[in-house]
């Protein structure tokens, strides 16, 4: 019925006693998510939004068996939070926290992989499966259950696009916010693999942005290995050319990474690419009418 999260997801909120942790715990519960535990060191024994708070993730694991975590702790403490969550045996970690240095994120990513855990984010709005479960901060009201997957590097733009889809009668199987950081825990390709294997997803909307080459690489993957229709949108066509990072940046990107190269790569892979975000629902309908890629 979905990817990554569903009605069996049991959420632990790391940093539950903070302002954002508390607000979004309430939001997740209102969405229908099973939030089973919160963790804030030193605040064990409290109850936040009806959720028991523990001093450590292991204690929360022993008493409530969570299988997903949502991280709200400030950036300087995110690395420690991730290690603790992964060591307790949780294999899906959604990191909402922004401004985590990539020098912290790299070892976090390598460690999670070595333990078989998946990170979504950081600097992301999380994941939501309408009528299933939400792990994150996406606004509840925009969703509608259905059969279109959404993958996005953006936050508020995702809300906008999902809302447009729902209003046009197009429901979503799962929406994954990958986050906008240079080192994401889950990439477009990872997310496409998940949707490709999900029998309840008929098409995927992919929302990219300028910078990096993740969209170009996803286009390559779509061309070679992905059969379901993909509808793309790339934000930033109007942006001035980015300031270069010495020679090394130019050597790595070799002329890729602009809106034009991303759009061209997606179109070459057989995707329909919207010029403006509100054109996406029309293209989704067009793609679904055509059926799977030839």
């Amino acid at each position: 019925m979905s990817v990554l999260v569903d009605s069996n997801t049991r959420v632990l909120v790391q940093g539950i006693t903070g302002h954002q942790g508390t607000i979004h715990t309430a939001g997740m519960k209102a969405f229908g998510s099973k939030v089973v535990a919160g963790v804030t060191p030193g605040k064990g024994g409290q109850v936040v939004e009806g959720v028991p708070v523990f001093d450590s993730v292991q204690e929360a694991m022993d008493k409530t068996s969570p299988n997903a975590a949502c991280v709200f702790v400030p950036a300087p403490f995110a690395r420690d939070a991730l290690y603790e969550i992964v060591d307790a045996g949780i294999s899906l970690v959604v990191i909402i926290t922004e401004h985590i240095p990539f020098h912290d994120m790299l070892p976090m990513l390598y460690y999670a992989k070595s333990k078989g855990a998946r990170i979504i984010g950081p600097n992301c709005p999380g994941i939501a499966t309408p009528a299933g479960s939400k792990v994150g901060i996406l606004p509840n009201a925009v969703f509608k259950p259905g059969r279109v997957g959404v993958i996005s590097r953006s936050g508020t733009l995702t809300y906008e696009i999902v809302s447009n889809l729902s209003e046009a009668g197009i429901g979503q199987s799962t929406c994954i916010g990958l986050g906008g950081d240079p080192v994401p825990g889950t990439t477009f390709i990872d997310a496409l693999e998940l949707f490709g294997a999900d029998p309840k997803t008929d098409a995927v909307v992919m929302v990219g942005e300028i910078g990096g080459v993740a969209e170009e690489e996803a286009a390559d993957y779509i061309k070679k290995k992905f059969d379901k229709p993909v509808i793309g949108y790339i934000a930033g066509r109007s942006a001035p050319p980015g300031k270069r990072m010495g020679h090394a940046g130019a050597i790595i990107s070799r002329g890729r990474g602009t809106a034009a190269t991303k759009v061209a790569a997606l179109e070459a892979a057989g995707c329909l690419v919207a010029k403006v975000p509100y054109d996406i629902p029309r293209l989704v309908k067009e793609a679904l009418a055509k059926g799977p890629k030839a």
Partner: protein
């Protein structure tokens, strides 16, 4: 990102033991006589300290054989504009006889989600036109660091051996330490030169990641490449970019701000300003709260130019009503809002 000037990057290199030419920074032509001939041997190179690239071809490097020539070159460079950046400092270094020029860098490879060590036996000004297959690449495990076999590979592909190979291995290790311990996005030495049987870093490019500045407060004041308005915005933690057109967009979240600018362009408007207030927690911001805040600010200080709002989310009708009452035009549909502001701007 914080982009260090050449001399600032070299100060970092010095702390990590990367060999450098003898040099000194001056901020006026009068200081030249104090350093050249003593601290800095002749002949020397006078180098304008700017963050933009292409200094070699752009005349920002001058050679001098005497103190007087060094003074004249310094006087000529200071205060000049180099690709939009004013030269305020000049680095004067001994001019070394070079046998070879190599390229060495470490940066983040976003595709591989790993640090990448890159090296090339043909360093110098034209590295970007060197074919890709001539550039050696090694991806480094972030927790393990550069291991010995990777250093041997680098040494060999740069055509070095013996004591020079050993020196290079040490420099690679030092560069890795700069990259990780200083939270750099990029550490680049181009050229890394062989002179008199030793390796020496003739240039430095070091950029520090913004998000890691909390660990390095000394870098906080070194931001470059921003207009005064951009600097002001950065101090307030707002993402702000001037784009040259006449219609600005203020929005919550970079993606939504960019998308709105794209829609503006699509409808014939000229994007003028990108202003992202930050939006990741926008899911719980109420429209009426935003509307009230906007109205109270506008009442304090009327704008004097067309202003159109577009608002979606929790308590949207209430927010719309507040804006309407204050005479602020408000739309629910993005395209309609954009079309309207383009019409207003054209009519001005």
């Amino acid at each position: 990102m914080v982009k260090l000037l050449e001399w600032q990057g070299k100060e970092v290199f010095r702390r990590y033991g990367i060999p450098l030419p003898k040099g000194a920074v001056v901020r006026s032509a009068d200081e030249v006589a104090k350093v050249v001939g003593s601290q800095v041997p002749l002949p020397c190179v006078v180098k304008a300290q700017v963050r933009v690239g292409g200094r070699g071809k752009g005349g920002a490097l001058q050679f001098a054989n005497t103190v007087e020539e060094a003074r004249a070159a310094t006087a000529k460079l200071l205060g000049t504009d180099f690709k939009g950046e004013t030269v305020r400092e000049v680095l004067i270094e001994e001019k070394l006889p070079l046998t070879r020029e190599l390229y060495l860098s470490i940066t983040l490879d976003r595709s591989h989600r790993a640090p990448i060590l890159m090296f090339c036996p043909e360093g110098g000004m034209d590295i970007e036109s060197v074919p890709d297959e001539k550039i050696g690449k090694v991806w480094i495990h972030p927790s393990i660091g550069v291991v010995d076999y990777e250093k041997r590979l680098t040494v060999k592909s740069l055509g070095l051996d013996g004591p020079l190979g050993k020196e290079l291995g040490g420099i690679v290790q030092a560069l890795w330490r700069v990259f990780t311990e200083e939270d750099a996005e990029l550490v680049e030495i181009n050229p890394l030169a062989i002179s008199g049987g030793h390796i020496v870093a003739l240039d430095s490019k070091v950029t520090i990641e913004d998000d890691a500045i909390f660990r390095h407060p000394s870098y906080a004041g070194l931001k470059g490449e921003m207009t005064p308005l951009e600097t002001k915005a950065s101090e307030k933690g707002i993402a702000f970019v001037e784009m040259g057109g006449d219609i600005g967009v203020i929005a919550n979240g970079a993606g939504l701000t960019m998308a709105t600018l794209d829609v503006l362009l699509e409808h014939g408007g000229k994007p003028g300003v990108f202003l992202d207030l930050g939006g990741i927690f926008g899911g719980v911001t109420r429209c009426d709260t935003v509307a009230s805040g906007l109205v109270s600010e506008m009442e304090k200080k009327p704008l004097g130019f067309p202003f159109v709002t577009r608002i979606r989310g929790h308590n949207e009708p209430e927010g719309m009503a507040i804006l309407k009452k204050a005479g602020i035009e408000s739309f629910s549909d993005m395209a309609e809002a954009v079309k309207h502001v383009v019409t207003l701007e054209a009519r001005k």
